[in-house]
Every structure is written in C-alpha cells, then in structure tokens.
Symmetry: C2
Subunit: 193 residues, 2 copies
C-alpha cells in the first residue's frame, strides 16, 4: 500500500501537469496540481534547481511534492537556452532561436528534464530524462508549449513535438522519461513499505 | 566614525570589484573582495536577486557585505538578456546579441545595476542605477567585461564602454550610479552614529 494517496505537482504550467499526470496514472499514482511560486536558483544544473525548489515547497506545504525543471540545450550555442529556457522563450521566443541558428548546419539539441520528489522530513530524490533531437528551420505545430514547435525528436518521423498530441509526445519526451523513472521507483518503494 | 572599517564585496568578478572600489575610495570607504559563491534566485527582478543573495552571504559570513546584480536590457528583445546576462554572455556571447539585432533599427538598451548592502542581523538596503544607451553594430574596445564592447552609453561620444578606461566608464555606468547612491547613504548614516 502506498504511504500517501496523492502526490502534489508544484507547477504553474498546465501542459507539464497534463503530460505528467497521464504517465503517473498508468502507474496508479494520483496527482494534484499545487499552484505555488517555488524558489528557483540560478544554476547551469537542472538537478540543483529542482532539488532546491522541491525542498522549499515541501518546507512550506508539508506535503509529498514533485517539481520539474527542464531546458532545451543547443550544442552549437553552448547549451543555450538551457536552464533559462522559460525566460528566453518569453523574451526572444522561437523567432530568436531560429535567427541564432540561421545558416547553421549543426542544429543538434537536447531537451532535458529533472523531476525532484520529496516528502516532509526526507531528502529529495531526483530523476533525469533526455531526448536528443534537432531544431527545425521553421515553427511547426500547435500542440504543447515553449520550444515544442521547433524541436524534432530523434527516432521520430520528422514531426516536431508541437505536431504531436500529448500521448505521442510522451513516447519520446525528456519529461516522460524522467516521470517514468520516478514512477517506477515510487511504485517499487511503495510496495516495500 | 563609521561603525566598521571594511565592507566586503561578495563577487567573483574582478572588474566589478575594481569599478566599485575606486568609487568607494572617494568616499573614504575601504573594501575587500569576498570570494564566495552566493545564492542567486531566478527572477526578472535584479533587486530581488541582490537582496536574497546578500542575506545569504551575511548569514554565512557574519560580516558587512555588499553584492551587486546587473543586467543588459534590450528593448526590442523584451528585456533580454536581462537578469541572465552572465549565462547568456557565456553561451551565445556578443556575436549572438549582434545576430539577434541584425537589420534592427531600434537598438535601445539599458544597463541596470542593483547594489544590496547588509550587516548581520539587519535588513538589506538596496540602491539602483541605470544607464540608457544603444547596442553597437560591431564589437569595439578591449576594456571592461561582458557586454561592454557592444554598449554605447547615451550622453557619451559614441564610444562603447569597452573603449573607455574604468575611470571614464564610471562617469556613466549603471554600477557607478548604484555604488554612489550606496556610498552617500553609507557616509550619511555613519556620520549619524
């Protein structure tokens, strides 16, 4: 029997919540969205950001919480936009990224995600996922959010994440991989209680 | 008489220290460099970043400390690179900024600085400085650091910050303005003790 019935996902991003919820449901884990502002430190390391953030939320809320931090890392731009993907999306946007890659042949990029989970009084556990891919030359698709319209996952048929419904994106995505790792660990340790 | 002989500037950036030290010396304030990693939160607000950071350093070091946070805010890019100027400089660099502004006529930008000062057991005080200017079309000059080679301050003769020696940059710069505001306040309240 699991120790708790419900896990709280601290995020203001409904897309992230939906992607995560669908996977956790497969594992029999129920999720609630917790709409709190969490502290995010400046760091090049998604894991450090996620772990600091989940500790902060758990200390304030006294609930079992997951947070997720993700970023798009473009090789030829030295990892830019990386951990600051959200700010950079809001300022220069897709247009800015495409302009920076104009006439650039090497368009390789990774999407990375780290899920950090913590219960009151415990140390956070974190789980990482990465999907390799490339940046398209034009925006395509209307699903998803953020840089989805310009990211083509490796191993797919050439469509961007924004050209896929959530269930299909979840076959490839960095976030889905991190969430699955978490869910497997969570199910395992719940069974051992 | 000042309450303390020495103020500690927590920074890993020797250029920032040198610019600040020269101004504080005019006010009779001696400074030491404190080379510690300080916590920086992700925020669009330089003041929030500086205040959180100084509290963190003072709590650990129990000394009178200043920290400074600064950013370049380009109007047509919605404030990018803003509070993440250091990361963005390290990844896409001057070249990336110039590419984003290719064929752009509106090149207006602000350099902003916030100095936060705190003594053990006290609330931080913060002081802001802004210099308006524009982004050059090519890099010019070898002085300074960061985006200095592409920033032309308003009211100057068209040279970039990197074409000026420290003393001259200090006539215009965002940082110099914030430091002077701090120094005036500091001298005033020291005299009242």
């Amino acid at each position: 029997m699991p120790k708790e019935k419900l896990i709280y996902f601290a995020t203001g991003n409904l897309h992230k919540f939906e992607e995560t919820r669908l996977i956790l449901r497969e594992f029999g884990v129920a999720t609630a969205i917790l709409n709190v502002k969490s502290l995010e430190v400046q760091s090049d390391d998604l894991e450090e950001i996620a772990r600091t953030s989940v500790l902060h939320v758990v200390a304030a809320q006294r609930l079992p919480v997951i947070v997720e931090d993700a970023g798009l890392f473009i090789g030829v731009l030295n990892g830019f936009p990386g951990p600051y993907s959200s700010y950079i999306y809001r300022t220069i946007g897709l247009k800015g990224i495409l302009k920076l890659l104009e006439k650039e042949d090497n368009r390789n990029a990774d999407f990375r995600s780290v899920i950090a989970f913590c219960r009151p009084g415990e140390t956070p556990k974190s789980f990482a996922g990465t999907v390799r891919g490339s940046i398209s030359t034009v925006e395509r698709g209307t699903h998803g959010f953020g840089f989805d319209p310009i990211f083509i996952p490796l191993g797919g048929d050439g469509r961007t994440f924004a050209e896929m419904a959530v269930i299909e994106k979840n076959l490839y995505s960095h976030r889905a991989q991190a969430v699955r790792k978490f869910a497997e660990w969570y199910a395992r340790q719940s069974n051992n209680l």
